[in-house]
Amino acid sequence: MNAYIPQLIHLIIAIVACMLWLALNALLLVYCERKFAGHIQRRPGPFEVGPHGILQPLIDGVKLMCKQLVTPDGADPYLYWLAPMLSMLPVMLLYMPIPYGPVLTGLEVNLGLLLILAFSGFNVLALLLAGWGSNNKWGILGAARAVAQSVAYEIPLLLSVLAIAFMTGTLNMSEITAQQGAWPWQWNVVTQPLAFIVFMVSMFGETNRAPFDLAEAESELTAGFHTEYSSMGFGLFFMAEYGYMVVICSVCSVLFLGGFKGPIMDGWWWMLLKTYALLFVMIWARWTFPRVRFDQLLNINWKWLLPLATFNLLATAFIMKL
């Protein structure tokens, strides 16, 4: 019995750390996103609250929390309020198996990659419940789109991840990192460029980010699945979206960019650097490309990503067998 206590403490610390890390990331990314958008449009972005608007996301958060929680008439209150929580809760779990450093891993599990892929699927359920529970046709339309999109993009994402798993022979994230070298040419991105491209594109689709943010296409739908949500109901979806972004970028940097390994001095700083570089590419893309149409979105997926990912997987399997 006593043998489990250190493990339990480790787990609790990891969960608390993950929660803090998630909240911090959400604040940081909101700020970065707005600043980045501002500078691309050659305006300063948030500027008034705190030096260079640094307190803006905090104030936004306070504002969101102070708003009234409204349940629309005729909505299913249980499903309606379950949805944002369901969208938020698994995110914390997703942070656990990511190796931020040799010892900075929340939960060392053999099936870490599988855990992430499995639990990130929860988000789809949350979106569906949100759209269904709010008793609003825009909500349902948005949810239907979100589900169609997430399900579609999950497949090429999985296939490209699988190619890496085939190559390294493991689903343990630390193990995958360990098999890559310190220098860029020793990373998986060199051996699996196609998988990397497919992963990058699916990443946008999976996290509902522009140019694939059709689940909340505010020019076509009123707002998508979260039309009816006020206050922290919306806030949780929002935070979850940023949470998933960080997770998927971390996974990408572990799988393809060598995780916490870097040319000089391995450590969590490399991991952070790579993750944030990817996040910036995501933000950059959002302010560069216009939104695609829904049929184009599905066409890109079914006609290009899926065959490419399948081909890549088969080729990897073939080469590994040789």
Partner: protein, 195 residues
């Protein structure tokens, strides 16, 4: 072969445009900001030239206090928001001598020349709170007597304050104008024509 080109090769080549897009926004990201931090800084004069604020009257080149307007009512009829009110001037009352002369002329069967009303309007009221800044009045004015102003720092706490007497405004502008007024006047008018 053609189908291969169209469906396979071209999309791959088109992917290059994504990087071109990244290049464009990346360049803007590194450029200097163009936004003005309003309360701390003010907009430079040359940037105000292209600003299309509320409508204002244009004075005659020789007499800047007098609008070019001929009270033709084109702007009033064409304004979709009905925010302009132009009141024509009444013809001046004829003096007794003139009246006498007119009567005599009538008796002789000659053409009577009644005194004409001055063309410039008696009143030119504009309600900014209704205006959609569509520019229809500017386009339709036969004498080019209207233009967008560059009055940019204008705040009101009541919508009634947004009702402007444009004639009074023109007189104010003429008063504060330097001696070389006509020249300064000509420039915005030209810019407006180009627009």
């Amino acid at each position: 072969m053609n189908a291969f080109r169209k469906h396979i090769l071209q999309p791959i080549i088109d992917c290059w445009s994504l990087f071109v897009g990244f290049g464009v926004t990346g360049k803007y990201f590194c450029n200097k900001l163009v936004t003005v931090h309003y309360p701390r800084q003010t907009v430079e004069e040359e940037n105000l030239d292209t600003y299309g604020g509320h409508i204002e009257l244009v004075g005659k080149p020789k007499d800047p206090a007098m609008p070019k307007c001929i009270s033709c009512m084109m702007c009033v009829t064409n304004c979709p928001s009905k925010c302009l009110t132009v009141v024509k001037q009444k013809p001046p009352k004829p003096t007794p001598e003139q009246e006498k002369a007119m009567k005599e002329a009538e008796e002789k069967g000659e053409k009577v020349s009644k005194p004409k009303a001055p063309k410039n309007p008696a009143k030119f009221i504009y309600d900014y709170s209704l205006c959609s800044l569509c520019g229809t009045c500017i386009e339709n004015c036969p004498t080019k007597s209207l233009r967008y102003s560059s009055n940019f720092y204008w705040v009101a706490s009541d919508r009634k304050e947004l009702k402007l007497d444009l004639l009074a405004r023109l007189r104010e502008q003429a008063k504060s104008m330097p001696a070389s007024a006509p020249k300064a006047e000509a420039k915005p008018a030209k810019a407006e024509k180009e627009a």
